[in-house]
């Protein structure tokens, strides 16, 4: 895995998604917002999946949302990850969603529809990641 053996990759240089990761590095969650239909979408794509406009820009998100689904992983895909961890699909309040982790509580406390807020963590590869925590715990 990148980062484990030496210098971290500069994710801000990635095509299309560099600005997202650059914001994450500064503790800011952003998402693409279409300049034509004004809807948010994720993952970043070169064109808006709702109206196919290429006129979109990253804008800061409130970082608040709800758990759409979650699963506690007990057997990780590679030894780089320490199980258990809670994978979740979080619906963010501006109308987009992303795969993430729920942190800041025990895995068995995570529930569908639970309010959560973004909390930046250091991932197994040493890079910052936008995880989410129960909304109260995130205050």
């Amino acid at each position: 895995m990148e980062g484990l053996t030496g210098e971290l990759e500069d994710r801000s240089l990635r095509p299309l998604t560099g600005e997202f990761w650059a914001a994450v590095n500064q503790g800011i969650l952003v998402r693409p917002v279409c300049g034509n239909c004004h809807r948010s979408f994720f993952v970043p794509q070169f064109a808006c999946p709702k109206c196919q406009s290429t006129d979109w820009a990253y804008e800061p998100s409130s970082g608040r949302g709800r758990v759409y689904s979650h699963t506690t992983v007990h057997r990780p895909p590679t030894p780089a990850f320490d199980a258990p961890y809670v994978l979740a699909d979080v619906d963010v309040e501006e109308g987009w969603h992303l795969l993430t982790w729920i942190v800041g509580c025990e895995p068995d406390q995570v529930a569908i529809d639970m309010p959560v807020s973004v909390r930046f963590i250091t991932g197994p590869d040493g890079q910052q990641l936008p995880a989410f925590a129960p909304h109260e715990a995130a205050q």
Partner: protein
């Protein structure tokens, strides 16, 4: 003949599967070729009869150019008229080859693939570790992607865990009786055994989930006209279809979008076959996990959403049940050989329709249903096979 639907102008005339194991001491190319030659032998044909290949190219040797299927022209020592790097094999491979044969782009297509010498080590199979930058950083794996879908189902419908586990036990017991299965002779399993196995990604325990093994599978598709002169009873493609909801493992699958995935393809397939799901004698379903089996019966409309586990417990899924399924032990117990794995479903369905399926034979099976992929992968495909 000319009035028939194009899919009805072709037949599956040969099938084969190699030995299956957790690890095989050979290469993906060699094990794939062995499956291909065995399928041709089964069909009463030789490589000289092949003018179409859907196989991709696993190496070693050859080039890095696409389509990799063209590399097989070199190994087979003759030019081809049609090639297609179908992903995955199984139903999409069969439908692509059938369309090519029906259109006259080639006469005899060989669809084959598998893997060997690639499994092992401390990580799960690389094809179950999606490498998208918004997936891999979270340590997701295919089982977890499917788990995200199953968790919403559990939240809304609270299926009886014993009933769901009983599905895994039944499929694994079919595999136990299949001498060719990687898990042959293991078991017998009960629902309690499944529920006592280690948790992998909630709600899936180890025995809910498919294998990742090595081996290869192949099928031969030619015109219905030519099939009449070949030794095996031909198997007809009565109907088929696919749905591609979106690319897999980029955005997480969402229950509300994918639990019914395949319903439209199934509707088209059954309409073409002039059959209903109630006419199916044997189901060879893509059993990447037990909840996918439940899901597919709901998707087919054989029971209402949320009632699949109850329905299957009542209907019965063994050879003597109303819906015999995964008679070879499925992906859970027979084998799952990566992108070539879906072809195993067709191999078993063809053998069922020929009446040569061995211990898992369903008496007088005339209509078989084969599926591939599933909700967590965000695409699904389906094919109805019958005696030609």
């Amino acid at each position: 003949m000319s009035g028939a639907h194009p899919l009805h102008r072709v037949a599956i005339v040969g099938v084969a599967a190699t030995e299956m194991a957790r690890q095989l001491d050979t290469t993906s190319a060699e094990i794939s070729m062995r499956a291909a030659l065995a399928a041709l032998d089964d069909a009463g044909l030789t490589v000289a009869d092949v003018d179409g290949v859907a196989a991709r190219w696993p190496g070693p040797g050859g080039t890095v150019f696409q389509p990799g299927s063209a590399d097989w022209a070199e190994v087979f020592g003759q030019p081809l008229r049609w090639v297609c790097d179908t992903y995955p094999q199984g139903v999409p491979g069969a439908l692509d080859a059938a369309a090519a044969v029906a259109a006259g782009l080639c006469e005899t297509a060989l669809v084959f693939g598998g893997q060997a010498g690639v499994m092992g080590g401390s990580a799960v199979a690389d094809y179950t570790r999606p490498d998208n930058e918004f997936i891999a950083c979270w340590g997701s794996l295919t089982a977890a992607q499917f788990a995200l879908v199953a968790q919403v189902y559990r939240h809304r419908f609270a299926p009886d865990p014993e009933q769901v586990a009983a599905i895994a036990a039944a499929i694994r017991n079919a595999g136990s009786a299949n001498p060719a299965a990687v898990m042959a002779g293991r078991g017998p399993y009960t629902a309690a055994d499944v529920l006592a196995s280690p948790m992998v990604a909630e709600p899936f325990r180890l025995l809910d989930l498919c294998l990742a093994t090595e081996g290869a599978a192949a099928m031969v598709i030619t015109t219905a006209e030519r099939a009449r002169d070949l030794p095996q009873p031909p198997v007809a493609i009565l109907g088929g279809g696919a749905e591609w909801h979106r690319q897999q493992y980029v955005n997480p699958p969402r229950y509300d979008e994918v639990w019914g995935l395949g319903a439209d393809a199934a509707h088209r397939a059954f309409e073409l076959a002039e059959l209903s799901p109630l006419d199916v004698d044997v189901f060879e379903l893509y059993d990447i996990n037990t909840y996918e089996v439940v899901r597919q019966f709901e998707m087919l409309g054989l029971c209402a959403e949320g009632e699949g586990a109850d329905y299957l417990a009542e209907a019965g899924i063994g050879i003597d049940g109303r819906h015999p399924l995964n008679t070879d032990g499925g992906l859970l117990s027979y084998s799952h050989i990566g992108w070539g794995g879906p072809t195993l479903k067709i191999v078993e369905a063809v053998r069922q329709l020929r009446g040569t399926a061995g211990p898992g034979q369903v008496p007088n099976a005339e209509v078989a249903l084969v599926t591939g992929a599933g909700s967590g992968a965000q695409y699904h495909n389906i094919m109805i096979l019958g005696r030609g």
